[in-house]
């Protein structure tokens, strides 16, 4: 079947957006903080990355700017939620709305701008291999970075002391506090790092995936990333799987449309969402697995009582 290799390549690219955002949210949620502001953060980071690339021409700076924008907005969110104990859901939604509006306003003059010529990437020897080369080795470096992040995060959460502390804070901040860990400061760090990853996802979207800026261009991917983290029961590897699955089925449904398959395009458009939900629910159908994996203090405010 022709077109399989490009399909895989497109899947990796499309899935990276969700993967980076969902990994960032995963870090937040493992610490017990639910950041509903993902959509707004991605929009602001997308604008920051795009504007940086327009003015400096540098891809790398764009990603740094996006990460910084994500971290900065997450920091505001974190300060409110951790030290002022505002309701996490409401604050997150406020951040989402703010991000959408602010990015639209600040981005007005960037809608007519264009990025400099986009570089093409391919790994020197590996990308010449007939099928596998085109499918896997012609991606933007950030795609591979997302995979590395997943592995690193898996290792960090499962096998390192820092990850243990993070999980402890997410499960029972009172106990962690009693043990002497600076719970609020660690949560804040997690929020900022998570925000940086979400920001990188936004920057990837606006400088690599669809190199332009228009308001609202994230088009709901932030919300999908939030749902993805939950459906993947807060495990990095499953998050990556879910992200690629979503990206893959999205490309597949277009492929099917183009082939003239006799299913209404509206059903096919629903397919990515349905497929991702079904697969992840099946993987996580054991209620005990969910109970074990869900950070027990997710969404709840923490007051150190001493």
């Amino acid at each position: 079947m022709d077109g399989i290799a490009p399909l895989i390549a497109s899947t990796l690219s499309a899935g990276t957006i969700l993967a980076l955002a969902a990994l960032g949210l995963l870090i937040n949620e493992r610490a017990g903080i639910l950041n509903l502001g993902a959509e707004g953060m991605m929009l602001m980071a997308a604008l920051a990355g795009y504007a940086t690339c327009v003015h400096t021409g540098s891809d790398t700076l764009a990603f740094i700017a996006g990460a910084a924008a994500g971290a900065a907005s997450a920091a505001c969110f974190g300060a409110l939620v951790i030290w002022f104990n505002t309701n996490q859901y409401a604050t997150g939604l406020a951040l989402s709305l703010f991000g959408a509006g602010f990015s639209a306003f600040a981005g007005i003059k960037y809608t007519q701008e264009k990025l400099p010529e986009r570089p093409r990437f391919s790994i020197p020897v590996l990308s010449d291999i007939p099928f596998v080369g085109e499918a896997f080795f012609k991606q933007h470096p950030v795609v591979y970075l997302a995979i590395l992040f997943t592995l690193a995060l898996s290792w960090f959460l499962g096998r390192s002391r820092g990850g243990l502390v993070l999980r402890a804070i997410g499960e029972s901040p009172e106990s962690a506090h009693a043990l002497g860990y600076p719970v609020r400061r660690l949560r804040f760090t997690a929020v900022c790092i998570g925000g940086a990853l979400v920001g990188m996802s936004g920057a990837y979207l606006s400088t690599v995936y669809t190199p332009l800026w228009v308001e609202g261009m994230v088009a709901g991917k932030g919300w999908i990333a939030l749902a993805l983290t939950t459906f993947a029961t807060w495990r990095p590897a499953r998050v990556l799987l879910g992200a690629y699955l979503f990206g893959g089925v999205t490309m597949l449904q277009f492929h099917l449309q183009g082939q003239g398959v006799n299913i209404a395009s509206q059903w096919l458009s629903m397919l990515p969402y349905l497929a991702t939900i079904v697969v992840l629910v099946l993987i996580s159908r054991d209620i005990n697995v969910i109970r074990i994996n869900m950070p027990a203090s997710l969404g709840k405010p923490f007051h150190p009582t001493s």
Binding site: P6, L7, F84, I108, L212, V218, Q257, G258, G260, V261
Partner: protein, 381 residues
């Protein structure tokens, strides 16, 4: 650092940040651009400038549909100067809330309202009877009222002309169309594009994908990529962002601009742009109201009236094709050429328009079939 100084520090920073932002006013909402009223009232303008309001479904910076409408508004306002005072509201969704926006604008004294997308039809029909002195103009709709009329652009003419270029430029004989929402207007454009291509290249095939949105750059990118993966080397779109053109540029293939001139988004890939120009109609509509000559009729303007055009044709297109485009435009202007001239058959081969016969507006409005050469099935049929 005590426990309290950290949040205090943040509160101070936050407050400073907000204060710094407080200076400029974010205004993605109504931006009034009143023209200066002349000091000594001219003899015929005893009542001051005509207050006109435009309601947009998207942002004016979308370089597409809404951008074209706003350009029309600006050119009309520039020509009519102090006789009009225009204002616009952008990002109004095609839902019940639009009704509130229309009523709000009437309350502000606007007596001519333009609703620039299909989905405002029902809200405008609700508001129109309550304000009989206000005139309503609805773009791309089909229902009218005593004080509400419709206007539209013959985008299919632009699609046909683009098809003529596409047919010449394709090497794989496979064209790709990124469709927005499967309504007759879009299906008609897909068909016209294919008919235009078949004019010089009867062997072309058109593949279609639907993103089910008017505007969604990531989805448009994915759809375009998918078509390229399936062998299409010239892309056409009915969606409103430059994402398709950019995807073609990245892949080294060809594409067209839609709604506005998109050359700069893909200089190597860009073949031509089908540009909608609403200013001729807006000037006429406003003059109708100013002269008291407003009549409830449906306007469907095309190349002849200057509402649609194929511009910025690339130098990669051979000279004889460019000449043919000019000839076809002249034919559209003097009425001697009509893109929908028979014989035209549907995919099954059934002849829908016999040889030599041209389709009338009634036929064109009801197109819900793909012509021969388009692959796939119309969604929902």
């Amino acid at each position: 650092m005590t426990n309290r100084s950290v949040p205090l520090g943040f509160a101070v920073l936050f407050g400073l940040g907000l204060a710094a932002c407080g200076g400029d006013k974010p205004a993605p909402q109504p931006a009034a651009t009143p023209a200066p009223v002349t000091a000594a009232p001219a003899p015929e303008a005893a009542k001051g400038p005509l207050k006109i309001a435009f309601v947009y479904v998207g942002p004016v910076g979308d370089a597409g549909w809404t951008f074209a409408h706003d350009r029309g508004r600006k050119e009309m306002a520039a020509e009519l100067g102090s006789k009009v005072a225009t204002t616009f509201v952008e990002n109004v969704p095609e839902a019940a809330d639009a009704e509130r926006v229309f009523r709000d604008l009437i309350g502000q004294g606007n007596t001519l309202l333009f609703g620039t997308t299909f989905g405002y039809m029902e809200p405008m029909l609700k508001v129109a009877p309550d304000s009989p002195d206000v005139k309503f103009e609805h773009a791309t709709g089909y229902k009218m009222a005593a004080n509400l009329r419709t206007y539209d652009s013959r985008t299919y003419e632009g699609a046909y002309l683009a098809g003529v270029v596409a047919g010449k430029m394709t090497k794989t004989n496979t064209l790709g169309v990124i469709g927005s929402i499967p309504i007759p207007e879009v299906i008609r454009n897909i068909d016209s594009f294919t008919l235009g291509a078949q004019r010089s290249n009867p062997a072309v095939k058109t593949k279609v994908v639907w993103v089910n949105k008017w505007f969604d750059p990531p989805k448009e990118t994915e759809g375009a990529q998918s078509l390229l993966n399936q062998g299409a080397d010239v892309l056409f779109q009915n969606t409103d962002s430059p994402a398709v053109l950019q995807t073609a540029e990245k892949a080294g293939k060809f594409a067209f601009g839609w709604d506005s001139d998109m050359t700069k988004f893909g200089p190597n890939a860009h073949l031509a742009s089908a540009v909608i120009n609403w200013s001729p109609y807006y000037k006429k509509a406003v003059k109708d109201v100013l002269d008291g000559a407003w009549k409830k009729d449906a306007s469907w303007w095309g190349v002849k009236e200057g509402t649609i055009d194929l511009v910025s044709i690339s130098d990669k297109v051979p000279a004889e094709t460019k000449a043919e485009i000019e000839k076809l435009k002249a034919g559209l202007k003097d009425g001697s050429f009509h893109p929908w001239t028979g014989p035209i058959s549907d995919q099954a081969g059934k002849e829908l328009l016999p040889a030599g016969q041209t389709a009338d507006d009634g036929f064109l409005h009801k197109i819900d079939f793909y012509v021969k050469g388009v692959e796939g099935k119309v969604p929902g049929k």
